[in-house]
């Protein structure tokens, strides 16, 4: 059977498909989130060292995972947009950035909320905290560059190049910060995850990560729909859509 892989690569065909997919991802996200929160708050045992306050990791760790994962996905879309010169890929990259920045911020905030009762301070120049902060800067740079260029095609391509440069730099930054940290601080704080994590804790974390993933997909699709309408506002399919809507 012949399949046209590029059928949904045009905004016109992707717009209704995304509209159909969004509710599914939202339902999956809310369902997983409900189960995940139940597992993390009702079933997972209280940590014997950290008490109840450790439960913030069920939001913190998945948010940190998503913040890095979304940057990779964003750079992937950006590379596809550059290589194949596809409009939709660049729009996806643009749509993912705010969600990634939001998860980065969430990871930083929950991390400091966790740090206060555990370490006694809101902020430590720990390697992971610092590299997460730099990741936030990279997201902000990407969004600032895209929003300050008026021509959408140039904005797409410049943003894509920046995302790729960022992806090459992320491991270098991560290791440099890690070595900087070990040289400067000694191991006053061992942030390593407890070696024996209860299976239910891991389950809670994975469920929450999946929930965040589904949420990201849903929100990115919603945002990409808005971007498509905005960019293609003078095209026929948007005109006919709005004519249908106003009836």
């Amino acid at each position: 059977m012949h399949m046209n892989w590029f059928k949904y690569s045009s905004p016109q065909t992707f717009y209704p498909l995304a509209g159909k997919m969004i509710p599914w991802f939202f339902w999956a996200a809310s369902l997983l989130c409900a189960v995940g929160l139940y597992v993390s708050f009702a079933i997972a045992p209280t940590d014997f060292q950290q008490g109840e306050a450790y439960r913030i990791i069920f939001v913190h760790v998945p948010a940190a995972w998503m913040s890095m994962f979304i940057y990779l996905v964003m750079a992937g879309w950006a590379a596809m947009g550059l290589a194949l010169n596809a409009r939709l890929s660049a729009m996806m990259a643009q749509a993912l950035a705010p969600t990634g920045a939001m998860f980065t911020l969430l990871a930083l905030v929950t991390g400091s909320l966790w740090g206060k009762p555990m370490w006694g301070t809101w902020w430590v120049w720990d390697a992971r905290l610092t590299s997460e902060l730099i990741l936030l800067f990279l997201y902000l740079g990407f969004m600032a560059l895209q929003s300050s260029i008026d021509d959408p095609r140039r904005a797409d391509r410049a943003g894509a190049l920046l995302a790729l440069v960022g992806v090459v730099n992320v491991p270098i930054i991560y290791f440099s910060v890690k070595w900087w940290n070990t040289l400067h601080q000694g191991s006053s704080i061992n942030m390593g995850v407890a070696p024996k994590m209860a299976a239910t804790m891991l389950l809670g974390m994975l469920l929450m990560a999946l929930a965040f993933w589904m949420y990201s997909v849903a929100v990115a699709l919603m945002r990409v729909r808005c971007i498509m309408l905005e960019r293609e506002r003078s095209s026929d399919w948007v005109q006919s859509l709005s004519a249908k809507g106003s009836k």
Binding site: I134, F137, L138, L140, G141, A144, L145, S148, I149, R154, R157, A158, L161, L162, L164, V165, G166, V168, N169, I172, I173, S176, V177, W179, W180, L183
Partner: protein, 222 residues
């Protein structure tokens, strides 16, 4: 091809020499920024010598950054950038000559002046030498990575501030290894590991940054 490279280099140096105040601005910026810290923190030599590596490196970083907007702006305004894009020689090759000129004009004076400021910060002699080595290895990276940011923000509104947002996070490894080398030698340890890593970062950016800058220029000009 080498002839063209030298021509571009000579042209950029000549342009910089005809406007000497531009070079002086970068240098004075470096001096002023690094003179502000003792005024803000206090004149105790022990404190100053412990913050000196970081302060001097951050000042060098900022001085390299404020001069970035000049890298392509004038060429873009008078059309010679488009001629470079149309030239038969690879754009990345020509761009590397421009970046080298930028380093000679903005990076090298800072490298040469840094030990003088280091003396004001009561740095030990060995650390002063390591400061020069580390700046010599690290400042080319600043020009190389900065060129990507300058090319991406060419002709964009608010490009001066935007380039800071884009480029400063990418400078972090250079800052860490550079300041780390100086701090290590000030504490009597070997700076070799830091300097090796600094050289590795420099070589990597030497290979990749001109290509990325050329791609960014094509995006900006089309």
């Amino acid at each position: 091809m080498n002839q063209t490279w030298l021509t571009v280099l000579r042209r950029d140096l000549l342009l910089a020499l005809r406007r000497r105040s531009d070079i002086a601005t970068t240098l004075f910026f470096f001096v002023i920024v690094s003179s502000l810290f003792p005024l803000g923190i206090g004149p105790e030599p022990a404190v100053l010598s412990s913050i000196a590596p970081g302060v001097l490196w951050v000042a060098a970083l900022l001085a390299g950054m404020i001069s970035l907007s000049r890298l392509f702006a004038a060429d873009s305004a008078d059309g010679s950038l488009e001629q470079m894009l149309l030239a038969p020689q690879p754009l990345a090759w020509l761009v590397s000559a421009k970046i080298f000129a930028h380093w000679l004009v903005c990076g090298l004076p800072v490298v040469l002046l840094a030990p003088l400021i280091g003396l004001q910060y009561a740095m030990p002699n060995d650390a002063l030498w390591v400061l020069v080595y580390s700046l010599l290895l690290g400042t080319p990276t600043l020009s190389l990575i900065g060129a990507i940011g300058a090319a991406l923000t060419l002709g964009v509104r608010g490009s001066g501030l935007l380039v800071a947002l884009l480029v400063l996070p990418l400078y972090i490894p250079t800052l860490i290894f550079g300041a780390g080398a100086v701090a290590a030698s000030a504490h009597g340890m070997s700076a070799e590991a830091h300097l090796s890593l600094l050289a590795a970062v420099s070589l990597l950016s030497l290979v990749l940054a001109p290509l990325a800058t050329a791609a960014a220029l094509r995006i900006s000009v089309e």
